[in-house]
Symmetry: C2
Subunit: 155 residues, 2 copies
DNA sequence: TGACATTGATCAGTATGCTGAATATCAGTA
DNA sequence: TACTGATATTCAGCATACTGATCAATGTCA
């Protein structure tokens, strides 16, 4: 039997663990307080103003119940605004606030630095390969997770 | 700025998300009820009977506070036994039960099938490359996480 | 139009993961 | 031996993630 440390599933957990730690460290050093998940949500709303929660979840492959808490915390921080849609009273339309825009712009260099740090053991070619292989594996496994990616266009 | 879907951190989260979903699905289909984390702990205790919780956490890179809950749930399921150490009354010695051994043996085929499923989009060479690159990136980033891997030998 | 399925959001419950603090114990030393 | 620092575990609290259920609103189709 293979050892744990050779199993893709275990390596996935470890790499994610390191990625989150690096992200939080770089972001905190830059003077911000935002989690990777919150950053992804902020970025997606910034690019898609007026989006509803389910569509947002699909864009970044979040679970629909997870997104509620994430959005709520971003709202509490004053980075996102949430209001009932006029077209569909079930839905809440999300928009980024001016404060949210400012944070998003300010935090981005730290986020990009974190991406480099978490791959610091790899050459540039290896890093590219890893990203490509992950993308390929994820694309093939997308519909195996409860929260598959759903592009806005496909909806 | 890079899009989220090209960032290693985001890909790490997505791949881990799929890996967990695949693991749980394969394991459930085989008639078992065990999470990836619980499986890793069970495997480590099986290979290291009498281990204490902190050392166990180091072997599989768990946070020390996370391991407590994991071990407790495995104990409730009757798969692990926990008892005070005679040499050090602070520590709890962990051993696998006969039921735990049976589950561990029975579940392993499903766990290995899950590893294949989560890489189903990759060729055999690509899968090997991905594992290798993840291992390299993890080794370099190991001490960046709060719960770095600590081999028993190093302790 | 009215029954029905669908959809957006929320809630309860469970399982990771982390921070920081508390508690008990151990080990080394003055 | 008393003190000090280190260590093993636990606890409180917060933030993902998921399952399954509920609720309100919408859309569809006979």
């Amino acid at each position: 039997m293979k050892a744990i440390h050779e199993m893709p599933g275990h390596l996935a957990r470890r790499f994610q663990q390191i990625a989150v730690a690096v992200f939080l460290a770089e972001v905190e050093e830059a003077g911000y307080d935002l989690t990777p998940v919150q950053y992804a949500a902020l970025a997606a709303v910034s690019a898609n103003p007026g989006i509803d929660q389910v569509t947002l979840a699909g864009l970044i492959a979040f679970d629909r119940t997870t997104i509620a808490g994430v959005v709520e915390r971003l709202e509490q921080k004053g980075l996102l605004a949430r209001q009932e849609s006029l077209r569909d009273r079930r839905a809440r339309e999300l928009t980024i606030t001016s404060g949210g825009r400012k944070v998003f712009r300010g935090i981005t260099p730290a986020v990009e630095a974190a991406q480099e740090t978490m791959l610091r053991g790899l050459t540039e070619k290896e890093a590219k390969d890893l990203v490509h292989l992950l993308q390929k594996a994820i694309a093939a496994g997308n519909d195996l997770s409860r929260a598959p990616l759903r592009s806005a266009a496909a909806v």
